[in-house]
Amino acid sequence: MSPRGRLGLFLAGAAVVAALFTVACLGLPPFGGAHHPYGDRAVRAAVRHHTSNAIASVNFDQRALDTLGEETILFSAVLGAVVLLRQTADERRHTPAPAAVRPPIRRFGLLMLPVALAVGLYVVAHGQLSPGGGFQGGVVVATALHLLYIAADYRALERVRPLRPYEIGEAVGEAAYVITGLAAVLAGSAFLANVLPYGTFATLSSGGTVPLLNAAVGMEVACGVVVLLAQFLDQAVQIEGADGGGSDDDGPRGPGRRERA
């Protein structure tokens, strides 16, 4: 189909969708209204279980089984990316040369690395109290490690990031979530039920299993994102085609891959 024909088809379809969507929106409850039956019940359930972050209570207590599915999606996606981006037989791996980094960038990166790491762990640990949790904090932790790539070079990143433990860590995080659920079954309740004592409202130990599940998810997400980013970085930095081509000619790679003095 020609680009013009395709655009015409899209515009016709979009007009129909826009019209139907507008009609549907006019039938929705008005924006900002006070009628939120599910929200009210979720808030009451969160307060009853001493979880001051109602969103964490929804995710890790009231519908913890759905979050297990969500975590599994992430797990499988990382697995899929590892399979898709593996080194094939006609590709070889070369060692990137050490690169010089401007001192201010190096200092800033090394200064921010522990700060970002601490922030990430804080966000995971306080998921039941304040906005954040395992997913958000896990991404922060994984990103913090990659500050080393900016502050030093790829070899320094590889030294703090031997992939094997992170692959295991990802699986352990996923397993810990399931085991926490099974522990509830052994305690005589339903799978993933919140069986632990709820603790004092608005303290670090409140929320029963919510902080445990947050920690499991945080571990899985942090390790998963590290493994995922490693696949893309390997493609850009290390793996090259048999003819020296492949990702070679367009991927930023080698000493000139970033602006450097």
């Binding site: 680009p3 395709r6 655009l7 899209f10 979009a14 969708v17 826009a18 969507f21 507008t22 929106c25 006019l26 929705l28 008005p30 924006f31 900002g32 209204g33 006070a34 939120h36 599910y38 929200g39 979720a42 808030v43 969160a46 307060v47 001051s52 972050n53 109602a54 969103i55 209570s57 929804v58 995710n59 519908r63 759905d66 979050t67 969500e70 999606i73 992430l74 996606a77 990382v78 899929g80 990316a81 898709l84 981006l85 109290l129 304040s130 906005p131 949790g133 997913f135 409202f201 608005a202 995922l228 696949q231 893309f232 493609q235 085609g241 492949g246 990702s247 367009d250």
Partner: protein, 114 residues
């Protein structure tokens, strides 16, 4: 205009699909898909908004304070996670396509290859 936030979500979706339809670069197309998908965040948060409500986090507000709907916010979190994983998988596919076929233009990918 109490329906405006909902309509904004629909507009973002259509803008993203427009980008997908007219895209000449698969990386750009993956970005457009992320835009189309982000319309669902706007729709979810618009559905959950309550006038005068604050965030449903009770660490420093009393539990009877009027808050926005936490259920849709939890759904938005799920949405973001799924969106990020889909984007990562699609980008991995684009990397492989570029290596096997030497192009990221979807119109140039019509040849069959044994």
């Amino acid at each position: 205009m109490t329906v405006l936030p909902y309509l904004v979500a629909g507009w973002i979706f259509l803008v993203g699909v427009y980008g997908l339809v007219t895209s000449r670069n698969l990386i750009h197309a993956v970005g457009c898909l992320a835009v189309a998908q982000s319309s669902t965040y706007v729709l979810l948060l618009a559905v959950g908004y309550r006038r005068g409500g604050t965030a449903p986090v009770f660490s420093d507000v009393p539990p009877d304070r009027r808050v926005v709907d936490p259920v849709v916010q939890a759904l938005a979190l799920t949405d973001i996670v799924v969106g990020a994983t889909v984007t990562a998988l699609l980008l991995a596919l684009v990397v492989q396509l570029r290596k096997r076929h030497g192009t990221v233009d979807p119109d140039a990918l019509s040849d069959l290859k044994g």
